[in-house]
Amino acid sequence: MSENDNLYWQENIRILKILLSIWFVVSFLMSVIFVDQLDVIRFGGFKFGFWMAQQGSIYVYVILIIVYIKFMDGLDKKYHHEEKDILAEEQASQNS
């Protein structure tokens, strides 16, 4: 693996560790282990722990994936690993 690729992979691993830690905390700590303790906090008609377990964690999951996509797009550009966008090219040649 070239030095370039190695650095790319190191940064990839780093973002994974960060995002997966958040995922772990939200899924297992906030929504299961500490859910009763978090229920003390209320907002609107929700107890926070209950809300986290039934809805909040899902919102976090979506955000985590969006953050990952944006980060990896940047990483691809930085290390010159952009791929051809086949579908966009076909669209363009159809329109011309």
Partner: protein, 560 residues
């Protein structure tokens, strides 16, 4: 217009749409048949994956299950969404860069072993068949509930439709019909949800209505507080509190999450997009579209439960509203006036309780409870069918490709031509549809348990093998195969013992460390990791060519 006629129209229209799409997207090569020519846009793939994921169970039963389980229902809400984070971050991009056709392709190549490929394809077939049995049954159930068609005829009609677009179009036909099916099912799910939210809280967004105050006709106060109060009055545990042990909740959630990330019919969806970037994006889209339904479900659960208790609690049996009667006639609600006072006592104590409610009512009765017109109910029927058919199709494709590609082309008959492989793929789908239909008509009594089985096995076999294959260059064939076998045997034995051999002792006193069969897949997964790592360090390293392959798939942009 009568409900039946409307339902026939809606179902007929949607089925015509699927057939039209099938004809438009005929497959003419194995690349088309297996991975839709790798030409599916991230948005379309996200929609298709969401439809593929949301089965008849998600559509009809999940809100009901959550409404009866209260907070513990989160095992399913998180369990069936959390895995997409793992897929997006740890699996989809790399498997797309690997670029072949199936999961056993990856396992077989990565672990340079026909044994590994065979173990993988047997698992894939087993997991997919157990899952698909429930789907065909679901199709029959929707037909019989809404169209008053005999259940078995319903299964046959479903088989016919799936057969048509799966055999004709393979993955291409399946993907684009799934896109249409998502649109149908999400519309069918959200319309009643919005209206029941308005009915109870005047809020048009169910997710927000969930945390809002009840309107005046329901007496004000926050919905969830009222529900907790009602529950406690009647002897149930508070809705927002859990009953199951934290450890079991943890293990079940983890088994479902890791199982999600190991299910072949979900993983292959990421082979159909043109690039690694597209694979990541489509995973994001998929979870977004799935989340629309999954964040609505707990809201529906709470609304419907509150409305149910409010309506029946100590009320006169003879004054029950129309929807109560309709569903009483189908047997989903039944009343037994034990104290003969003409009033309904719905309480936790089974000796006093007079009302038996089937969980599926929560979604099925929603439109009538919200006083929606008949066309909405017809739409729900079409939506339930869309959900069942889309999932069934994805599973059938995995079975077919496991046979034609992994068993025949890559293993037993490597010299068949592409045309022959395509023919075998079509024949395999035909037989798979027939067998799935057979199980739809004669379901094993244990369909729901068997789906839990599928998740546990996927978590204990595929998930570790794939993740180790990508993130470790050291993992070798001896490690991976031993790990998979250890995981499968442990998980399968535990589940078979408690669910089939000795169901009488299937309770928390007898489970190991209090972990139920639904959650044992997590332990199986851990066992797989441990065995794989130990064996791997005692046996030779993989060949350099394989290590190079691993390094290659970690980086996008390799020339095709």
């Amino acid at each position: 217009m009568s409900l039946q006629v409307l339902t026939y129209i809606f179902v007929g229209l949607t089925f015509s749409l699927y057939i039209g799409i099938a004809i438009w997207s005929r497959a003419s090569s194995t690349r088309d048949f297996y991975i839709a020519g790798a030409h599916v846009s991230p948005l379309a793939n996200g929609l298709a994956t969401a439809a593929d994921w949301m089965s008849a169970a998600s559509f009809i039963s999940m809100a009901g299950i959550v409404s009866f389980m209260g907070r513990d229902g989160s095992v399913y809400l998180m369990g069936w969404t959390g895995g997409y984070v793992l897929l997006a971050l740890m699996i989809a991009p790399y498997l797309r860069e690997f670029g072949k056709f199936t999961v056993p392709d990856f396992i077989g190549d990565r672990y340079y072993s026909q044994l590994a490929r065979t173990v993988a394809l047997v698992c894939a077939i087993f997991v997919s068949f157990t899952y698909v049995a429930g789907q065909m049954r679901g199709v029959g159930v929707v037909f019989s509930r809404f169209l008053e068609v005999d259940i078995n005829l319903g299964v046959l009609i479903g088989m016919g439709i799936v057969f048509f677009y799966a055999v004709l179009g393979g993955m291409k036909g399946i993907t684009y019909t799934q896109v249409a099916q998502y649109c149908v099912l999400i519309f069918a799910y959200m319309v009643p949800a919005v209206f029941i939210s308005i009915l109870l809280t005047d809020n048009i967004i169910p997710q927000i209505g969930f945390g809002s105050e009840l309107n005046d006709s329901f007496g004000g106060g926050y919905l969830l507080d009222r529900l907790d109060g009602l529950h406690e009055e009647l002897g149930f545990a508070a809705y927002t509190e859990g009953v199951r042990s934290s450890l079991d909740v943890l293990f079940i959630t983890a088994a479902l999450i890791m199982g999600t990330a190991g299910l072949p019919h979900v993983i292959i969806r990421f082979f159909t997009v043109p690039s690694v970037r597209a694979a990541r994006k489509s995973a994001g889209y998929a979870l977004f579209f799935i989340a629309i339904l999954y964040t609505t479900a707990p809201a529906i659960a709470a609304f419907a439960r509150t409305n149910l208790i409010n309506t029946v609690n100590n009320a006169q049996y003879l004054e029950m509203p129309g929807w109560f009667r309709t569903w009483e006639n189908t047997g989903l609600i039944s009343f037994d006036d034990k104290n003969e006072d003409g009033r309904i006592q719905y309480v936790a104590d089974p000796d006093i309780n007079e009302l038996t409610v089937d969980r599926d009512i929560i979604v099925l009765a929603n439109p009538e409870i919200s006083q929606l017109p008949n066309w909405v109910i017809a739409l729900v029927a079409a939506g339930g069918l869309a959900a069942a058919l889309s999932t069934a199709a994805g599973l059938l494709l995995v079975i077919s490709t496991s046979i034609s590609h992994d068993l025949l082309k890559s293993n037993l008959m490597p010299n068949i031509s592409e045309k022959q492989e395509l023919l075998f793929a079509r024949i395999a789908i035909f037989f798979a549809v027939c067998i799935a239909g057979y199980f739809g008509i004669n379901p094993p009594g244990f369909v729901a348990q068997v789906v839990a089985f599928a998740f546990g096995l996927a978590a204990a076999s595929f998930f570790p093998a794939i993740v180790l294959g990508i993130f470790s260059t050291r993992m070798n064939k001896e490690g991976a195969v031993s790990g998979m076998i250890a995981g499968i045997v442990f998980t399968a034995s535990y589940i078979i013992y408690f669910k089939f051999i000795n169901p009488a002792i299937d309770n928390a006193d007898n489970w190991w460390w209090g972990v139920s069969p639904e959650g044992i897949g997590t332990l199986g997964m851990l066992l797989n990791f441990i065995v794989a790592l130990v064996v791997c360090n005692l046996t030779p390293e993989p060949p350099q060519a394989v290590k190079d392959m691993v390094l290659d798939i970690r980086v996008p942009g390799k020339p095709e």
